[in-house]
C-alpha cells in the first residue's frame, strides 16, 4: 500500500494524456485571438489608406485644401477646409465648457468634498458619461437650441453653439475623472504639509496639488479634445450640414464626422469620388485623434513628477 506511487502515476498519466495537448494548443489559439485587435487596427489603416489614396489620385491637392466643398453638385468639388473649420469650432466650444467645469469638479471632488458627498457625486457624474451620444444629440437639438434662441434671436435652428455646449457637458465627466485621478496620485504628505503650514484648502489645491498633477491634467485635456473631434451624433443632429466656409457660430457648420454620416446615409455609390472622399476625411480624422492620443501619452509620461 504505497499511496505516493499512486499520486505520481496519476500525475504521469495526466502529463502524458490530452491535458498537455490542450496546453500546447491554447497559447497559440490565444495568441491568434489577441492578434485580432492588432488586425483591427491594420484593417482600419488599410481601408482608410487604400480608398483615401484613390481619392487623392482623382482630386488634386490644391482642390482638397480649398474652401470649396460641394460633393453632390454637377461639378463636384472636395475642399476639406470647411469641415476642419467646423470641427475646430465645435471642439473649441466644447473645450470652453468642459475644461473649466471639469477641472472645478475634479478639484472639488478631490480637495473639498467629504467622503460621503464624494460617494454620491462621483457615480452621478459617471452616469453623465454613460448616456449615449444620440441622446445628447436629441437634447441639444430639441432643448438647448430653442433655449439659446431666446437669448440669441439670430441663432439658426442648426448652429455650432448648442452642439458645442452639449458636447462639452458630455466631456465633463471625462476631464473630471482623469484630472481627479492625477490629483489623487499626489501624495497626501505634500497636502498635509501645506495644510500644516497654514494654507487654506484652495491654496493647497492651486499651489501644491495642481502643479504636481499638471501632466495628468493636461493629458486629460488633450484626450478630451480627441474625444470632441471624433464625436459624431451630437454634431450631426444639431450642427447640420452647411458646407460653406464661415466663422459664424450662430449658423450651421459641418464637421468631418457629420460629413461621413451625411454622405453614407445619403447613399453614395461605391466607386465614385464622393464615396472615396469619405475615406479621405476618415483618414484625416483618424490621424488627428491618433496624434492627440500619442501627445497625451507623451505628456503624461514625460512630465510626470515621481514621488
Amino acid at each position: 500500500m504505497d499511496g505516493r506511487t499512486d499520486v505520481r502515476k496519476m500525475i504521469q498519466d495526466n502529463i502524458s494524456h490530452k491535458a498537455n495537448r490542450v496546453d500546447a494548443v491554447m497559447p497559440k489559439f490565444l495568441l491568434v485571438m489577441a492578434s485580432m485587435s492588432v488586425l483591427t487596427t491594420v484593417g482600419i489603416v488599410l481601408t482608410l489608406f487604400f480608398d483615401a489614396f484613390k481619392f487623392f489620385r482623382q482630386v488634386p491637392l490644391s482642390e482638397v485644401f480649398s474652401t470649396d466643398l460641394a460633393p453632390l453638385s454637377a461639378d463636384p468639388s472636395f475642399g476639406i477646409l470647411p469641415l476642419i473649420n467646423g470641427t475646430i469650432f465645435t471642439s473649441l466650444i466644447a473645450m470652453m465648457v468642459a475644461v473649466p467645469i471639469g477641472l472645478a469638479a475634479a478639484v472639488y471632488l478631490s480637495q473639498f468634498a467629504s467622503f460621503n458627498k464624494r460617494k454620491v457625486l462621483k457615480p452621478m457624474l459617471e452616469l453623465l458619461a454613460g448616456v449615449p451620444t444620440i441622446v445628447y444629440g436629441f437634447f441639444a437639438y430639441s432643448f438647448v437650441t430653442p433655449l439659446l434662441m431666446r437669448l440669441i434671436p439670430s441663432l439658426g435652428s442648426k448652429n455650432v453653439i448648442s452642439p458645442g455646449i452639449v458636447m462639452g457637458i458630455m466631456i465633463i465627466p471625462m476631464v473630471a475623472s482623469l484630472s481627479e485621478d492625477a490629483m489623487n496620485a499626489v501624495p497626501d504628505a505634500m497636502r498635509e504639509g501645506a495644510l500644516g503650514l497654514g494654507s487654506t484648502r484652495f491654496e493647497v489645491a492651486v499651489k501644491v496639488v495642481l502643479p504636481a498633477a499638471i501632466s495628468g491634467i493636461v493629458a486629460s485635456f488633450v484626450l478630451a479634445i480627441s474625444r470632441a473631434i471624433g464625436e459624431t451624433m451630437i454634431v450631426t443632429i444639431a450642427s447640420g450640414s452647411n458646407k460653406n466656409f464661415s466663422f459664424d457660430i450662430t449658423q450651421s457648420m459641418q464637421t468631418m464626422t457629420s460629413y461621413i454620416v451625411e454622405f453614407t446615409s445619403g447613399d453614395a455609390g461605391a466607386g465614385t469620388t464622393g464615396y472615396y472622399s469619405l475615406y479621405a476625411v476618415g483618414l484625416i480624422l483618424f490621424v488627428f485623434t491618433l496624434l492627440m492620443n500619442l501627445l497625451a501619452q507623451y505628456i503624461s509620461k514625460k512630465y510626470r513628477e515621481v514621488y
Partner: protein
C-alpha cells in the same frame, strides 16, 4: 578645547544677532480673513460647477420623460414602424437591438477574454506584449465613426454582408473590444497568485489552472466588463448609420442576414424628422426612455454581479 568653546560662543552670538535682525513676523488678520474668504468662495464655485453638470443630467431626464408621456405604451412597444406617428412602434428596432446584442456578446467575450488571458498569463514581458497593449489603448480612442467605415469596407463590401445585423454586430464588437479586454485583464490580475501556486502544486497544468481556477474566480469581473461593453455597443449610433442602415424598415428582421433598424438609429431618424412633424420628437423621446431603461437595467445587473459574487482575498 579653549578654541572650541570660543567658537561655540561666537556661534551663539551670531545666532542671537540673526534673530534680532530678522524681520518681525506679523500676523495680519485682514490678510488671513481675505484668504479664508477666497477659499470659501471658491469652494462654493467648485461645488456649484459639479452641481451644474448633475443638474444638466436631471434636466435632460426630465425633458425626455415629460415628452414621452402619453406615447410610451404597450402599443408603442409592440407594433412596427408606420408613417403615421400615432400608430408607429419600435418592435422592429427592439428585435434589431436584441439581434445586435446576441452577436456582440459571444464575439467580444471570446475575443476579449482570450486576449486578456494571453496578455496576463502567457505573454512574457517584451515587445509583443507592449505592442498589443499600446495597440489596444489606441484602438480604444479611435472615433466610432471610423469603425463604421471599417465595417462598411470589410463586412459590407468585401465579405458581402451588406447592412445586415451580422455586419452591424461585428462592427460594434470590434469597437468595444478594448473595453472588455481591459476589464477582463483587471479581473484576471485580481486572482491571487497563491491560488495558482496551489493548483500547480497539485500537479495541474497551466491551462487546467487557468480554466478551473483563474477563470471561475475572475468570472464576475469578466461578466461585469462584458455587460458594460455591451451596453456601450447598443447605445452606439454612428457606426451603424455609416454601414448604411436604411431609414425606414417596415419588416421585422427574422435572421442575422436581414436588414434591420435598432433603437439608437430610430432615435436618430425620428429626431431628424421632428422638423417636419412635431410628434416625431415624442416618438424619439419615448424610444430614448426605452433605451435608457435597458442601459440602466444592464448597469444595475453589472453592479449587482460585482457586489455579490466578487470575493476579495
Amino acid at each position: 578645547m579653549e578654541f572650541e568653546a570660543q567658537l561655540l560662543q561666537q556661534l551663539e552670538i551670531e545666532k542671537d544677532r540673526e534673530i534680532i535682525n530678522r524681520r518681525p513676523v506679523r500676523i495680519d488678520p485682514a490678510r488671513i480673513r481675505r484668504r479664508v474668504w477666497l477659499n470659501n468662495l471658491l469652494q462654493r464655485v467648485f461645488s456649484l460647477s459639479t452641481a451644474f453638470a448633475i443638474a444638466v443630467l436631471a434636466i435632460l431626464f426630465y425633458q425626455i420623460i415629460s415628452q414621452s408621456i402619453g406615447w410610451l405604451d404597450w402599443q408603442f412597444l409592440s407594433s412596427n414602424l408606420s408613417i403615421f406617428p400615432e400608430k408607429a412602434g419600435i418592435w422592429g428596432a427592439i428585435v434589431g437591438s436584441i439581434g445586435l446584442i446576441l452577436i456582440v456578446i459571444p464575439v467580444t467575450i471570446v475575443l476579449g477574454v482570450s486576449t486578456a488571458i494571453y496578455l496576463e498569463e502567457y505573454a512574457t514581458e517584451g515587445r509583443l506584449r507592449d505592442f498589443i497593449r499600446i495597440n489596444l489603448s489606441n484602438l480604444a480612442s479611435v472615433p466610432s465613426v471610423i469603425f463604421g467605415l471599417l465595417g462598411l469596407s470589410l463586412f459590407g463590401r468585401i465579405l458581402h454582408l451588406g447592412s445586415s445585423i451580422l455586419a452591424g454586430g461585428l462592427t460594434l464588437s470590434l469597437m468595444v473590444l478594448p473595453i472588455i479586454v481591459v476589464s477582463a485583464q483587471e479581473a484576471i490580475r485580481a486572482v491571487p497568485g497563491f491560488l495558482r501556486d496551489g493548483s500547480y502544486a497539485m500537479g495541474a497544468s497551466k491551462w487546467t489552472t487557468i480554466w478551473k481556477v483563474v477563470l471561475p474566480i475572475a468570472l464576475p469581473g469578466i461578466l461585469t466588463g462584458s455587460i458594460l461593453s455591451v451596453s456601450r455597443a447598443i447605445g452606439e449610433t454612428a457606426p451603424l448609420v455609416v454601414l448604411g442602415i436604411p431609414a425606414l424598415i417596415m419588416r421585422v428582421p427574422t435572421s442575422v442576414m436581414d436588414d434591420f433598424t435598432a433603437l439608437p438609429i430610430q432615435i436618430y431618424y425620428w429626431t431628424l424628422d421632428s422638423v417636419l412633424t412635431r410628434e416625431y420628437a415624442n416618438l424619439a423621446s419615448a424610444t430614448i426612455v426605452v433605451l435608457l431603461l435597458v442601459l440602466f437595467l444592464m448597469n444595475s445587473i453589472a453592479i449587482i454581479i460585482r457586489n455579490k459574487f466578487q470575493k476579495s482575498y
